[in-house]
Symmetry: C2
Subunit: 95 residues, 2 copies
Amino acid sequence: MTAETTVNHEEKAYALLKADAEKILKLIKVQMDHLTMPQCPLYEEVLDTQMFGLSREIDFAVRLGLIDSEVGKGILGELERELSLLHEAFTNNKK
Amino acid sequence: MTAETTVNHEEKAYALLKADAEKILKLIKVQMDHLTMPQCPLYEEVLDTQMFGLSREIDFAVRLGLIDSEVGKGILGELERELSLLHEAFTNNKK
C-alpha cells in the first residue's frame, strides 16, 4: 500500500460525498418537477433528514482529514441553494 | 506519506466513531441516572437523531473501506442494547 492509497481515500471520500449529494439533488428536482401535485407532507422531513445525514458524513470526512472543510461547505451550500429555490417555487405556486 | 497514513486513516476513523458512540452513551447514561425526573419529551428524538447521524458516519466509513461492516454493526449494536435498557427502565419506572 503506497501513498496512492491515501490519495485514493481522499478521492474516494470526495466521490462518495458528491454521489450522496447528487441523490439529494435528484430528490429536490423530482419535487421541483411536480410542484403542481399535492405535496407529500413528509417530503420536507425526508430532505431535512438526508441533509442532516450528509452533513454528518462531511463532518466525519473533514475530521478524518480526507476533505477540506471548505470543500464540505461547498457541497452543502450548493444543496441549500437548491432547497431554497424549491421552497420559493412552493410558495409562489400556492399564490 | 507511507502505508502508515492509510492504517492511520483506518485507526483514526475507528477512534472517531468510538468517540461519537461514547458521546451517545453518555447521553443515555445521563437519562438513566435521572429516571425519576420528568423526562424531557425531546430526549428520545435527540437520541434517535444522534443514532441516525452515527449510522451514516459508520456507513460512510464502511463504504470508504476504512472499517469493516461487522465492526460498524458492533458499535451500533452496543448502543442499541443500552437504548433498550433505557426504554425498559422508563417503562418500569412508570409502573
